[in-house]
């Protein structure tokens, strides 16, 4: 211990010197200064452990000097050497900041050494107490900071995600829809990262708590994988999961933390793999303490995340679970992230009563295992039970050209309780479906199509309101095609159907023909708007649309490609629809080709234009604007499917059969009365060629008829409106007559 003696008195110096020299234990190093000002240099250097102040000549050491020293050198213990045995002064000195005082008269090697050492200890204790207080304050400040920043970060992030969600609900083009999905998923990923950071911080200040609630294990797994699928797909990876048949499905615990662990592990696996599959297996762990399942109140579930990535060196397998460590690799630029994930996982898993560990082989891949203890719920349903429950009684149609293959699939599904029918091809499938319709049976809940790609089948399910799964804005009664790996058939059926049990019960089937055999269609129209509409209608069907913007282009394309159907607009520059059709027919007969169906798209419901279309060689004509159902019906009718028109073209049927909306029945007399007076005002307007009024009445009628269920009235209204717009007086008159006739038939 280095001691500085500040003293003017040679006797004090001598006294202290010999006392310290004679002491036992740790040796003392004595420095001397004859005044404080001289001593300061040494004190400043920080090498002095204790200060011995001599009051010298019995003059009192200024208490101010003591205070000053205490302030300037708070860490250095001070002992005051008094010349008198003056207790009062001694106490005052200690109050002013000295650690102790000692009377010169009692100085000897033992007493001085002990006093100095004790003073030193006392000083250390004081420092520790101060440090502790500072640390606690800092910790408190840190918690406050976390709470504050958590709110500060969450608020704008919630706004971003909230807006993305709202945006997602507006009408978007499919391009915009894609962008919004990226936007949402990135936002959600960011949110997760921030949650991770905050969680780790909270865990460290002891503020992390576990929830306990009932949840469905399979649902959590599926939602998690769904969330990760985008990232995985970007890296060309696939995700899959298998659940052991005896794993209990409804559990008690904290599903959010479970999800957090899974997301962390999967994110790592995805990050460090370039290809292949990242898979999750979920098994029930045999609990040695509770061998008979009926008696225990919970289960340990064992999760394993396997990847085929770069692997982890064996010496790092433990260390990776420590905070902020990452495995350095040659491609270190891939190692983004704060390295928090695994340490959070370990903490969480431990909190949930389990453990976590990793296995790996360099260059081959890694498996991360963790176990969690979950409580059981009232419902003892296992995964096997869940599959059975979901598939039991489900009516499934398998369409497979290979009978053996189809039978295998059918057997597998029957084992799970489904009612399976097999069909060898699309025609047979459609017959089956129609047969059910005619027999007033419930439609098939699911149609499975074998696919040219081995191991993949396609599920066709009614596309109900599944956000994220079904193309938004799609008619909810269309079918959606989901390709899945055959080995995952049951899992995926369950996953695909689970959320929509109600929708399936009420969905009515659409004619399936258009979704099974894709047609190559040539669309000829100079109007970008119209082309856009047709393309939108066909976007989610397998039909392939080629575009020509005038008749000449159409002719060229027709010659060079094989089309199942041509949709030909009539009014176009360069070469109009009639001319193009004629040219095509001539070419066909010259080349000995089969006749390709051509449907004319006419803007007006004018008989003249329709007649001319048929004369030039069209097979049919449709008036624009083209309703989606009419379009798809026409495609179905005229492409190679050749399905007869018994249930097609709903509109034609609807216009003959009037079904009035029941809630508006009492308004029908008013509606009809108004239409009858419309006829009168239209005739008045016709007499003076008041096209504006005719157009207005037609427009209004168009907007009203369909609300009640009088679709024919809407059609006629549209025709009247368009005729007036084109100032075609004869046609307008024609349609007004038809309106009159129609009203007569409804209510004579």
């Amino acid at each position: 211990m280095r001691v500085l003696l500040v003293s003017e008195d040679p006797t004090s110096l001598q006294l202290v010197k010999s006392a310290l020299a004679g002491s036992s234990g740790e040796p003392f190093d004595l420095e001397v200064a004859d005044a404080l000002s001289v001593g300061r240099r040494l004190l400043d250097s920080g090498e002095i452990d204790a200060l011995l102040m001599d009051s010298g000549d019995c003059r009192r050491v200024e208490l101010d000097a003591i205070r000053d020293i205490r302030e300037t050198y708070p860490a250095i213990p001070m002992v005051v050497l008094t010349c008198k045995d003056d207790e009062e002064f001694g106490v005052a000195a200690v109050r002013a900041g000295a650690q102790d005082h000692i009377f010169r008269g009692v100085v000897n090697s033992r007493s001085l050494a002990r006093t100095l050492r004790h003073a030193y200890e006392r000083q250390r204790v004081r420092e520790l107490v101060r440090s502790k207080a500072a640390a606690e304050e800092a910790n408190h400040a840190k918690s406050e900071f976390i709470a504050l920043i958590s709110h500060e970060i969450r608020t704008p992030l919630n706004a971003i995600l909230g807006m993305a969600e709202v945006l997602d609900e507006t009408k978007l083009t499919s391009e915009q829809e894609e962008y919004v999905q990226v936007f949402r998923k990135s936002g959600e990923a960011l949110q997760l990262l921030i949650e991770d950071i905050l969680d780790l911080a909270k865990a460290e200040v002891g503020r992390l708590a576990l929830e306990e609630t009932e949840f469905n294990l399979v649902e959590v797994v599926e939602k998690t994988l769904d969330f990760l699928a985008l990232k995985a797909n970007e890296r060309g990876l696939q995700l899959s999961y298998t659940v052991g048949p005896d794993v209990p499905v409804i559990l008690r615990g904290d599903p959010h933390r479970l999800r957090q662990v899974l997301i962390n592990l999967f994110s790592n696996a995805i990050k460090f793999s370039n290809e292949g599959i990242v898979s999750l297996t979920v098994q029930k762990e045999r609990d040695p303490e509770h061998p008979s399942p009926e008696t225990n109140t919970g289960s340990t579930v064992h999760f394993a995340v396997l990847d085929t990535g770069i692997g982890i060196p064996p010496d790092k397998l433990e260390v990776i679970f420590d905070s902020f460590t990452q495995v350095r690799s040659a491609r270190s630029r891939l190692n983004e992230g704060a390295g928090l994930g695994l340490s959070i996982c370990r903490r969480l898993v431990q909190m949930m009563g389990g453990r976590i560990w990793a296995e790996s082989a360099l260059g081959q891949g890694s498996t991360f295992h963790f176990t969690v203890y979950f409580g059981h719920s009232q419902s003892p349903m296992t995964y096997r039970g869940m599959l059975r429950a979901a598939l039991s009684g489900m009516t499934i149609l398998i369409v497979d050209a290979n009978p053996d293959h189809g039978r295998l699939l059918a057997e597998r599904l029957s084992n799970w309780g489904a009612q399976v029918t097999e069909a060898g091809d699309a025609t047979q499938a459609l017959e089956d479906i129609r047969r059910r319709q005619h027999a007033n049976l419930d439609p098939y809940k699911l149609v499975i199509l074998s696919s040219p790609i081995p191991d993949i089948v396609q599920l066709m399910v009614p596309c109900a309101e599944w956000s994220g799964r079904c193309p938004r804005g799609q008619d909810t009664r269309t079918y959606m095609v989901v390709p899945i790996a055959e080995s995952r058939l049951a899992d995926d059926i369950v996953s695909v159907l689970r959320e929509t049990a109600d929708s399936l019960a009420t969905a009515t089937p659409e004619p399936l023909g258009q979704a099974i055999r894709p047609a190559r269609i040539l669309l000829v129209d100079d109007d970008a708007e119209n082309r856009f509409v047709v393309e939108s209608y066909l976007k989610w069907t397998p039909h392939r649309v080629d575009i020509a913007t005038n008749g000449l282009e159409a002719l060229e394309m027709f010659k060079s490609e094989q089309y199942a159907l041509v949709l030909m607009d009539v009014r176009m520059p360069v070469m109009n629809g009639h001319e193009a059709t004629r040219a095509i027919r001539q070419w066909e007969s010259r080349e000995g080709k089969n006749r390709t169906p051509i449907i004319a798209l006419t803007a007006f419901a004018l008989s003249q234009e329709a007649e001319e279309s048929m004369a030039s060689g069209c097979d049919a004509h449709l008036t624009k604007p083209l309703g989606k159902r009419r379009l798809l019906g026409a495609i179905q009718e005229y492409t190679a499917m050749g399905i007869p028109q018994d249930t097609g073209d709903m509109d034609a049927v609807a216009s003959e059969l009037i079904q009035v909306e029941p809630e508006l029945e009492e308004f029908v007399p008013m509606f009809l009365e108004n239409r009858r007076s419309d006829v009168l005002s239209l005739r008045d307007a016709l007499a003076v060629s008041d096209f504006d009024s005719i157009e207005r009445v037609g427009h209004r009628m168009k907007g009203l008829g369909g609300i009640y269920g009088f679709h024919r009235v809407t059609e006629i209204g549209r025709a009247i409106e368009e005729a007036a717009q084109a100032k075609e007086i004869d046609s307008a008159r024609d349609w007004v007559d038809r309106l009159h006739e129609h009203l007569q038939t409804i209510a004579p």
Binding site: F532, V533, F667, G703, T714
Partner: protein, 124 residues
């Protein structure tokens, strides 16, 4: 329960739409044109205005502009009814950022109810 104002010069629409919306349990009032609608807005701002765009003399868009320029009125959500289709629909859609929902006529009663439910449930 929300307040819905139906603005349409067609008397038939003014009669049947309140009936169609009745099952939703909201209060439905009607206005014969933009001027009447502004009078309604002055008295009390409804939660939703259903505005027919086929009203003559651009009445619909004028009203919508007036609503957007008034900070109190723009608290209301706007749904437009339009019997136009195809091309015109597209130009309306390009202005969609200024309305909250649109429904084409003729609409099925259930479709109108769905649209109203949806627009009333989204946050302002």
């Amino acid at each position: 329960m929300a307040t819905i104002a139906v603005v349409d010069d067609d008397q038939e629409i003014r009669q049947i739409v309140p009936r169609i919306l009745a099952p939703l349990g909201h209060k439905v009032v009607t206005a014969i044109d933009g001027v009447a609608a502004e009078y309604l807005l002055d008295k009390s701002v409804p939660d939703l205005l259903i505005i027919d765009l086929s009203m003559p003399r651009k009445g619909g868009w004028d009203l919508i502009n007036a609503i957007h320029q008034n900070p109190e009125w723009s608290k209301a959500k706007i749904m437009i009814l339009t019997a136009s289709s195809g091309f015109v629909e597209r130009s309306i859609m390009s202005r969609l950022s200024r309305v909250d929902s649109y429904v084409t006529k003729p609409f099925k009663p259930e479709a109108l109810r769905d649209a109203v439910r949806e627009v009333l449930s989204t946050k302002a």
